[in-house]
Symmetry: C2
Subunit: 410 residues, 2 copies
């Protein structure tokens, strides 16, 4: 037997304020809900909680979709489950690319065997619906895939009219709303999106590890056409679909729906504690009210933008399509971005974000999401940034950022 390693100490993280692009601090109610003990996966109380979670997420996704549930994994698991279930090998997918997460959609589509066509914008811009429509008419995709809020650029892609474009060309419309769900309106039915996925760790104020998903009836019909039942649990009354089997078992949404639906067909063992957390995230959101919650995030975004500008910094990207819950800001000439982030963390226990790809080392990303989209947290962050910039030798007008943010909060 191998030597047993140290068991280390009890979990005891520092009390850090997470004002980056996510994950952010969880709402304490979510963590408390997650301390409830487990249930058997087909106990009536468990299936009752599953049904309640489905109902609650219809509210979160602003949809009447029957098929609204959780994928057990991080937000990225939800994206892959959607794409591997919607995209048959060889099918054409139109990917809207204007940042890292558009590239991720492309990457996943390629891995599951889809043929990618793209319609692009520079990082910091969005793609117009006219350009999406033009591309869709040209390439006749089976699926149109886009990202609502791409945290890599802090831009929110306008999606009004997406469903009409998709229907016109006979496509299904997929939206990754990981970074906006719970903070900006994710208007599934209004957009006419067929599948939308999210995560808990940003504006929903929970931990990463559960991916809410909603699926329209027409998308569900398509996915069920690819239904395949595991040999170990197959019975005579289960129909296989005529479509091509989905290239993943874990992410086979037909099987996952047969588990969440009335068939209650065993698939994975539901991640009960994450489900308790996801359920509480949704309860908190619906109690607050969607409009109030979106307005709170908008106030935070406005305050951060105003505060940064009053400090003499230059905000990144197009004002017209800014996400409300995360703001990019150029690192000033001569300032070491990582030194600032380290001082923020070490002196103030505040995390702000770095960036990816073409923006790595060039912008910081400051978020105010979920439980952290609150006035005092925004003000504290701006005040700390001012002190830290000064300590690193960059002159900032004293007090200006906090004052401007206070005024802009509204």
């Amino acid at each position: 037997m191998c030597p047993v390693p140290d068991v280390f100490g009890e979990i005891d993280p520092p009390q850090r304020l997470l004002m980056g692009p996510g994950p952010v601090n969880a709402h304490p109610r979510v963590l408390r809900a997650m301390s409830a003990d487990l249930l058997g996966q087909f106990d009536p109380e468990m299936t009752g909680y599953m049904n309640e979670t489905m109902a609650l997420y219809r509210g979160v996704f602003m949809t009447g979709n029957r098929w609204t549930f959780l994928v057990d994994g991080t937000a990225r698991a939800g994206i892959e489950a959607a794409l591997v279930s919607l995209v048959e090998p060889g099918a054409t997918v139109l990917v809207v690319r204007a940042g890292r997460f558009g590239l991720l959609l492309q990457e996943i589509v390629e891995r599951v065997g889809g043929r990618v066509e793209t319609v692009d914008a520079e990082w910091g811009q969005v793609v117009s619906m006219e350009a999406i429509a033009e591309a869709a008419r040209r390439v006749r995709p089976a699926v149109i895939a886009c990202v609502h809020g791409d945290t890599s650029t802090t831009m929110a892609q306008p999606l009004d009219g997406l469903g009409a474009v998709a229907r016109e060309v006979g496509a299904l419309a997929y939206v990754d709303a990981t970074a906006t769900i719970g903070g900006m309106a994710v208007d599934t039915d209004g957009w006419g999106a067929d599948v939308v996925t999210g995560g808990l760790q940003k504006c929903l104020g929970g931990p990463s590890g559960s991916a809410p998903i909603t699926i329209s009836d027409r998308a569900a019909d398509f996915i069920f056409s690819r239904r395949h039942v595991e040999k170990g649990i197959a019975t005579d009354d289960l129909d296989e679909g005529p479509g091509r089997r989905i290239g993943s078992n874990y992410f086979d949404l037909a099987m996952v729906m047969d588990y969440w639906g009335e068939k209650r067909l065993n698939h994975h063992t539901e991640a009960t504690t994450m489900l308790y957390g996801a359920r509480e995230c949704a309860r908190i959101m619906l109690e607050e009210g969607l409009e109030t919650r979106f307005a709170r995030h908008a106030s935070a975004g406005r305050a951060i933008t105003a505060g940064l500008r009053a400090m003499g910094l230059v905000v990144f990207g197009d004002d017209a399509c800014r996400m409300t819950n995360v703001t990019g800001v150029w690192i000033p000439e001569g300032v070491n971005g990582e030194a600032i982030r380290r001082r923020m963390r070490e002196d103030f226990e505040i995390e702000i974000g770095t960036a990816f790809g073409p923006l790595a080392g060039r912008i910081w990303r400051i978020g105010a999401m979920g439980y952290n989209a609150r006035k005092h947290k925004v003000l504290i962050t701006l005040g700390a940034l001012e002190a830290v910039l000064r300590a690193e030798g960059f002159a900032v007008p004293a007090g200006a950022g906090v004052d401007a943010a206070l005024e802009a909060w509204g």
Copy 2:
């Protein structure tokens, strides 16, 4: 905007004793650890906890493998991550099948494009290592895949010598240890297994939703030969491997290792709360000591088997290869298995398990796993089963089951 649904009540599950094949009640320390607040995913304290978790799971997996970490999803996610990363399309995989989870391995291999050969035993038996070796020599697989404890049959597959067989034929050896990890010796290095995966929700006493995995250097070398870096985060110093790109992004273990390793390359957002839970599961296990813990599960299994037999029931499967942590028992002639399970739940708040496939409706499965592998819980369960059988009209010698279990506990 859609009508907002009811927000329902606070989470408040019944205090139920889960004595089925898993999930089981979580250790309270695990749930408490999960209530710690979140950290940024590259904060030094977070990467420190990740490194500690890797070290702790080396102890759990009885291995010196550097690559020992968590896959963010349920146990089934760990299985799929292993197989999609190890199995190139067209590669031959020898699957050892003696229950539902052998069939699941086959299913997953087929979905990821592998060519399956099998070596089989009846449900309730295991496959001898000689038969595995003979089949391996015949089919020359790239991977040999097997299940250690298959809860569908309650049998534990002997795995001594697996690594030698795999090396002889140039294969990599994969073991699904979901149902035994933390309860029976999962002797990764002793077996010579290349990849072993597990889950928290059985003998480790945590919630479903995190899949510990360990990977030998030779398996890691193979997986890294398939390395592919996402466009959105690619930099010049990252090498692509010559092998075929893995058909999943989320389950691409090369990317997941580059996230857990020193490169700290962004992939998914680690499921922090599940990581806190997984870390605590391992701490509890290593504090107790592996031998003590395995002996505790063995006592529980012995006591359940003796108790059931003293009640006049017939235990399922081969005594020589019984799992210690879950026991199958034939439903007696004329007894309605589901009526018994319902009475157990409604009158005693105890869950025992039903069964799958050829055993559905024919056996119950009674587990004693992790925090529930304790004398009083076994005794309470047997006493309740006696009362419930009597209430359903099946004569049971009063007190005999509990007395025999007490004596057999040792």
